[in-house]
């Protein structure tokens, strides 16, 4: 079952940013999320997440000097849960239009306030039938190193599959063909377990 994890607050052709409903309820790095744009279902891979102050000018301050545990801080200052927010960014890696899965960019970006769902195993399996998305991941200019992102996303997809080993081998072979730099390939393969 799909699980709703947030709402789009910023969107472009290549990526969208979503805010979580609950503080710290972030989807893991590399997981596949989706949002709807009319008839089109957009798929993104979580490449970055951050938790910070709701207002850019107000930085949190240390409050735990007299508290016994970290949890107690939140208990004694319940407003914190409202003043802080968790956000994550997803790189758009494909879309589904008319029932057909496509591993390239959609015609339109995501809508603001579109609900963002964490894809269930079924959908992940369907999406990972083909590795067309790897090229988008490798060539994106992001804060997160592409090696980490590729490895994380493949690890996550592997978890949804029964043929995990075969899947990773197939993905590895695909990467070997895409990546000219052998050292980069080695570093990704090393992160796949």
């Amino acid at each position: 079952m799909e699980e709703r994890v947030g709402e789009v607050i910023e969107a472009s052709t290549v990526a969208f940013t979503a805010q979580c409903y609950e503080l710290y309820c972030l989807p893991p790095l590399g997981s596949l999320v989706s949002t709807r744009q009319g008839e089109v279902e957009l798929y993104g891979i979580v490449h970055h997440a951050a938790t910070g102050s709701l207002e850019p000018g107000r930085r949190p301050i240390a409050r735990g000097r007299d508290e016994a545990s970290e949890e107690d801080i939140y208990r004694s200052s319940p407003q914190l849960l409202k003043l802080l927010q968790s956000e994550f960014c997803a790189l758009v890696v494909g879309h589904r239009e008319g029932g057909e899965m496509r591993h390239y960019l959609p015609p339109q970006p995501a809508r603001i306030h579109g609900f963002v769902y964490l894809c269930g195993p079924e959908e992940v399996r369907e999406f990972s039938q083909s590795f067309g998305f790897l090229n988008l991941l490798l060539n994106a200019h992001l804060q997160t190193p592409p090696d980490e992102l590729v490895a994380a996303s493949l690890r996550r997809m592997g978890l949804a599959r029964e043929d995990r080993h075969d899947f990773l081998v197939r993905a590895g072979r695909e990467l070997a063909l895409l990546i000219g730099d052998f050292n980069q390939l080695k570093s990704i393969l090393g992160r796949l377990r």
């Binding site: 080993h165 990467l175 730099d181 080695k186």
Partner: protein, 530 residues
């Protein structure tokens, strides 16, 4: 079943095509000399693997090899960053529009990029090498394949052919197999100069005491054994049909010329031979040998302007000939006539040399008989052409140690050189067996239609055997990889493309049954007696 190996990635007609192996195919399963088909867009190509290689996509792979103890990494890299390559020499096009009508054609182009490469299936092999039938004869199996390699013997005997290979590589067995084939499937008759007594009656197999049957035992009604050494043949239990004796008066100067090297004769001595023949006529050898050191002799030599040392040289040579046991002053039987009689009746003749394995004897006898038989054939052929009657049965003459007859110095003078060059005009061809092909005159080599070669390791020999063939350097690789025994490479007129093969089994009771199925009614006496 066809097995997909990979795809064509580059190439040229001259150099062959490079194939990138697919990931699941291991280079270790590939072998030089195996056959593949390439599915081009318009036609199918048939080719041979001439090289197997390893390649990497990035030089860093070889500079810092990955940790292959991790099976995952090994599995991913095999066939992607590291992959195998094949070098394939396309040789024929099969299938396609022209191919179906006319059979396999030599290649004039190469398959396009990324054409699929498959291992050749048995059907493909059959399309190329044919099935065993009335004219085609099974000589062996292509290496690592179950398919039968069949030779069109009707075509084969139309040209002179050669069998080469180092000593002990299986030339004799191969020759026996071919002779049996010719006996069964071609209309030609064979005359075999059997220097080591291996083709007529029992021969031995190397490395064991096991005796191997030969032609006369397998086809008693089709083979006649002639011998130069009756006693030896009797001791070996051979039933001979004719004992060959040669008379002094039969030897012509032309027969002596060939012996120049073996008898150590000088050029002047050769000249003297002709003068003696003119002077004394038919009995020239006896007359020359009987000349004593008298004033009369000296006068004669002065008249003929022969120097004394030349005369001594000649006499020493003739003495050596006289010492040959089968030479007699005068012989009543005519060996040439009876050989021709047998051949005319469609019988194959094996001439055993018994103990006279001396090269002088072999050269003298082979050359004498062949010269006369060839002359007779020539006459009969010309007569048949003039009168438009039946032509004489095609004749194949088998000679061993062929470089002694066909080396550069004597090839122009001996009858074998003539037969090899003039080929089939007179329905006579040669089957040349030799271990030093480099010793054979290049012109003769170039006229040989089909060449079969076992392992050769001398550079010069390899070069001379492969001279003039396209894809020579690739075939060189194949030839040098042949096993030391029972593997051979065949190429030339009778086969559509070069093929390395393992000759069919010879020497077991079962193999004999395969070879002579027609004579199945005749129960083997050995078997009767258990």
């Amino acid at each position: 079943m066809t097995q997909k190996l990979g795809t064509v990635v580059s190439g040229s007609v001259d150099g062959g095509v490079d194939v990138r192996l697919d990931a699941p195919v291991s280079v270790e399963d590939m072998a030089v000399g195996r056959y593949v088909t390439i599915e081009g867009q318009k036609q199918r190509f048939f080719g041979m693997i001439t090289d197997v290689g390893l390649a990497v996509t990035d030089q860093q792979v070889s500079q810092s090899p990955p940790d292959l103890s991790d099976p995952f990494i090994a599995e991913v890299l095999a066939g992607t960053s590291t992959y195998g390559t094949l070098h394939v020499l396309p040789m024929l096009t099969i299938g396609g529009d022209a191919g179906l009508l006319e059979g396999p054609q030599p290649v004039k182009t190469i398959p396009s990029h990324f054409s699929l490469v498959n291992l050749a299936s048995d059907e493909d092999m059959e399309m190329v090498f044919g099935k065993e039938d009335k004219e085609r004869y099974w000589i062996g199996n292509p290496l690592d394949m179950e398919t039968r390699l069949c030779l069109n013997l009707e075509e084969f005997v139309k040209r002179s052919n050669g069998i080469f290979g180092k000593s002990g590589t299986g030339k004799t067995f191969l020759t026996r197999i071919l002779l049996i084939g010719m006996l069964q499937k071609s209309k030609a008759v064979n005359l075999i100069f059997d220097m080591h007594n291996e083709y007529g009656w029992e021969g031995s197999s190397e490395g064991s005491t096991h005796k191997v049957k030969a032609l006369k035992q397998l086809f008693p009604s089709k083979v006649a054994v002639f011998t130069l050494d009756e006693e030896n043949s009797r001791r070996r239990g051979v039933s001979t049909d004719f004992v060959v004796r040669i008379g002094f008066d039969e030897i012509e100067p032309e027969d002596m010329v060939l012996l120049r090297q073996t008898l150590n004769l000088t050029d002047q001595a050769i000249g003297a031979i002709y003068q003696m023949r003119r002077r004394f006529g038919k009995g020239w050898i006896e007359s020359t040998l009987e000349m004593r050191d008298t004033e009369e002799t000296r006068q004669l030599l002065r008249d003929l302007s022969i120097h004394e040392s030349t005369f001594d040289n000649l006499r020493r040579g003739l003495e050596k000939v006289r010492r040959l046991p089968f030479i007699e002053p005068h012989v009543a039987t005519d060996a040439v006539k009876s050989v021709l009689d047998y051949l005319g009746r469609g019988m194959n003749v094996v001439l055993e040399f018994g103990r006279h394995r001396d090269i002088t004897a072999y050269i003298l006898v082979a050359n004498m008989l062949a010269r006369r038989i060839y002359a007779r054939y020539q006459e009969r052929m010309e007569q048949a052409m003039a009168e438009d009657t039946t032509r004489p049965t095609p004749l194949v003459i088998t000679i061993e140690e062929a470089h002694k007859f066909l080396n550069t110095e004597v090839a122009t003078q001996t009858i074998f050189g003539t037969i090899a060059r003039e080929m089939r005009k007179y329905n006579v061809t040669l089957l040349v067996i030799d271990q030093r092909p480099s010793g054979i005159d290049a012109e003769v080599m170039s006229q040989l239609g089909t060449k079969i070669t076992c392992l050769l390791d001398n550079e010069k020999d390899v070069d001379s055997v492969l001279a003039g063939i396209s894809g020579k350097s690739e075939l060189k690789t194949v030839l040098s990889r042949l096993a030391a025994k029972q593997q051979a490479l065949i190429f030339g007129h009778a086969v559509p493309m070069p093929v390395s093969f393992q000759p069919r089994e010879y020497g077991t009771a079962e193999s004999y049954r395969h070879f002579a199925p027609a004579d199945a009614g005749q129960v083997d006496i050995e078997e009767l007696w258990g």
